[in-house]
Symmetry: C2
């Protein structure tokens, strides 16, 4: 029958619950959503980048990226300008204000993650990372 009580099922259930619980708590603790912080982090590392490139890196829908950037622009955290060579492209970059703010967010994030992985040894961490990576590879194959 489909009692679904195997260990596999439990792992899946944990993964699901984990994301369901973590997402909102992350946002409350850090004051920003994971998606948005990822966008900012990417911008920080890239200095200036086209929306298209950014979208590919963070792997979020085009539309979502546009909307995030619009809101970030309203908050004066990013600046956008059309590419002079090709007007279809839009370059995005952080403002000074944005760079300052992101530092605080990242620190909050770091604190959050440390709490989540509390009690994990170095060895366990790398084992876990390895496993998660393998799972992700499996998913990408589908």
């Amino acid at each position: 029958m489909f009692k679904c009580s195997k260990e596999e099922e439990l792992i899946a259930a944990r993964l699901f619950e984990l994301s369901k619980q973590t997402m909102p708590k992350f946002e409350r603790c850090t004051g920003i959503s994971q998606s948005r912080l990822e966008i900012l982090r990417e911008l920080f590392e890239a200095e200036e980048i086209t929306q298209r490139e950014l979208q590919k890196k963070v792997n979020i829908d085009h539309a979502a990226v546009t909307r995030h950037l619009k809101q970030l622009e309203e908050k004066s955290m990013v600046i956008r300008r059309k590419s002079p060579e090709d007007n279809r492209f839009t370059y995005v970059s952080l403002t000074e204000e944005g760079k300052t703010k992101i530092a605080a967010y990242c620190e909050e994030k770091q604190r959050f993650i440390s709490k989540i992985l509390n009690g994990f040894s170095e060895l366990e961490r790398s084992t876990l990372l390895n496993m998660l990576t393998r799972i992700q590879e499996n998913i990408e194959k589908m």
Copy 2:
């Protein structure tokens, strides 16, 4: 600085990406969302249960549960009736049709999960489950 390149950060990033990628793929593969399937699974095991109890078990917002059940009722998969003893409570149960359908969903789910955990040994699975459980405990403490 806040380069955030530590292993901890990578684990968090993986967890985040994982849920972002898994959720929609799960839905496409199985034809149902994880939340909704969890509700159905709970109903299957409980036979008859109040919405309140169901909500506590699946740990989804009250409003979301109400809306799921409404749609499931429209699809003739569940039946709801007011408790005679206390009219505030609503008992929910699967229809025969619902029970049949859930079997197919569960099989799809099982197949999906097996693919995700492809290449994991028994030992690795229990290690992973253990780690995920510990992370969840850490989250609950926050």
